[in-house]
Symmetry: C2
Subunit: 341 residues, 2 copies
DNA sequence: CTGTTAGCGCATTCAT
DNA sequence: ATGAATGCGCTAACAG
């Protein structure tokens, strides 16, 4: 027996007053007498009145909701960003609608459209690896819906963005490997059109060049995804080549873990034969054996800052004239999968 | 320059027809002539018309949205359940609002209220570890909003529930440990009021009893959370006691990983000195060294099934008279952190 | 085939 | 201090 939720009109009727009076009373308007206020409050409680936010939103044109699009929710990186976002927006009274694109452009496009139809007030987006054009984001902007891009940049799409200095992270990792005597450093790289992966690749190359180590194409392998299985496959291919690497800089920790498994299978030692460095510094990384050297990223801060910028736009509803660009600093965490200095 | 989104009325005006005609045309109603349909469609495209789902929802009293409340989004378990849910509900045209309670009763309560105010059509809930009374869920039921509880049961709250047979999982793990010669089997248990943890504890006890092994209270340790750090602390306490365990059955993989780290620190061997078994079978578990024996749970299926049941309720809007109770079967995955048979 | 009317639940004029 | 009227954007019942 689903009861119809009681409305402001219901309260008004049972009290023989106007709906507008009830509305004002519930909002504690100063132009309402103490008596009617109390009567309304009491009746509201009695009838278990719950305001219908749909009606409020329709009228106010604001849903107090922000849409978050991430490639996948299961990864440590993105789920932690979301936690940061959550904690930030809660205080401002905003709700979150979290969606995953599964790295698919089509899904991403569809999600954005759906959320726009449902009138979310703003977007926090990290594009799918398959996303190469940004017309769907342009549309949002032309509808006046603020968008903040995080972690993965959208080249050619001008917007607020909060990124991590992936180049610097990779560079730190590489300099450390070189300093500890590695010379044949392999890189297991991620999808080519992700800016994060491009920048890590740049860091890899630039560090080699700085130390006059020639870039050897046979030391570079690519993965489509970011799983340990991908890392295993790439490492197998790498080790099958003529001359072995003495270090592997992996695009992330999961891939690095896969690499470690294969290297151990082949009877090689870490880090004596091959050093390993990952990226992300996942919580588990220090528990592997050997513990994984990795580039830590300020993940939680990434979420906080991105949402803070978005909140600012929503608060001041002037038009955005200039976009913010924030670059957060990563930090190499040295553990035992790489040689000591 | 935020343009006001164009509405059905805008289209109607610029075409000099009635709004209802436009509405019908957009819905491809058979009672509209080909010509007007085409004209409407064309104008809609030209004006970049996007239906306002808030208005639609207000009218239809259905938002096509379901609320998902999990204790935390960062865990492998819950984020994977969500993936299952996502894949299921997408086909039915439902959206997901995902929220985390952070294991707090107050947050859980608040989230549920907020989502209810925003008129989600149904709920998928796994209660926080701090949640001990379910009046907030009772309220949902009395408002006629369907609720499906998953993984963690709500004792005393009658609802559809989709659970994992934690007792059986624990029992499988324990029988295996006993079969491989372990006798002083410790258990690192989770929060006492979580049904999942209770049932694992029951499995632990019952297996011991079946094999006439006395239950030794000094072999039982408790953790508040589910992190590796919690596991480390608990294991330290365990190893500080007079007589050491020859096996540890941990409440989950993260805790088991923490246990392994401490055991290795103490110079003990796994599994020769102490066998370890976890619960969850996280993707990384096979990559630890030694690889972790663990109880696998049908996580994705859990999400699919829970949401399927919810979808059924939403489709047939008769009242729910009887609640479904589904118990999914876990499975022990034997690896190298436990002795061979 | 199309237009008119009404109403979803609410907040905000404008009256009184 | 309160009520009546209006409209957010849309759909549906009821005319014609």
């Amino acid at each position: 027996m689903k009861k119809r939720p009681s409305t402001i009109t219901d309260i008004a009727k049972s009290l023989n007053i106007a709906a507008s009076t009830v509305s004002r009373a519930l909002h504690d308007s100063p132009s309402i007498s103490k008596e009617t206020k109390q009567a309304v409050m009491k009746m509201a409680k009695q009838m278990d009145y719950q305001p219908n936010m749909l009606a409020v939103s329709l009228l106010s044109k604001r849903t107090k909701t922000i849409g978050v699009i991430v490639p996948e929710i299961t990864s440590y990186f993105f789920s932690t960003v979301i936690s940061g976002v959550q904690d930030m927006v809660n205080e401002a009274g905003y709700k979150l609608v979290i969606c995953q694109s599964n790295e698919s452009f089509e899904e991403e496009q569809k999600l954005i459209e759906t959320l726009a139809l449902n009138r979310v007030d703003g977007f926090l987006i990290s594009p799918a690896s398959k996303t190469m054009k940004f017309t769907h984001l342009e549309r949002l902007r032309s509808s006046g819906i603020p968008v903040v891009v995080f972690d993965r940049d959208c080249p050619g799409f001008d917007a607020d963005r909060v990124l991590v200095d992936d180049f610097d992270g990779a560079f730190q990792a590489m300099e450390y490997l070189i300093k500890t005597g590695c010379r044949r450093i392999a890189h297991i790289a991620g999808p080519k059109n992700l800016t994060t992966c491009q920048h890590r690749m740049d860091g890899y190359i630039k560090a080699l060049q700085k130390h006059q180590i020639p870039v050897d194409e046979s030391l570079i392998e690519w993965v489509e995804g970011f799983t340990s299985e991908d890392g295993e496959e790439a490492t197998k291919r790498l080790l099958d080549r003529r001359s072995r690497p003495d270090a592997i800089f992996a695009i992330n920790d999961a891939v690095a873990i896969g690499a470690m498994a294969i290297i151990r299978d082949k009877g090689l030692r870490i880090p004596e034969d091959i050093s390993i460095v990952g990226f992300d510094d996942e919580p588990y990384s220090k528990y592997f054996h050997p513990s994984l050297t990795s580039v830590w990223q300020p993940v939680y801060e990434l979420g906080m800052l991105s949402s803070k910028i978005l909140m600012n736009h929503l608060a001041s509803d002037l038009d955005v004239t200039q976009f913010r660009y924030e670059l957060l600093k990563p930090e190499l965490i040295v553990r035992n999968s790489s040689r000591p200095v």
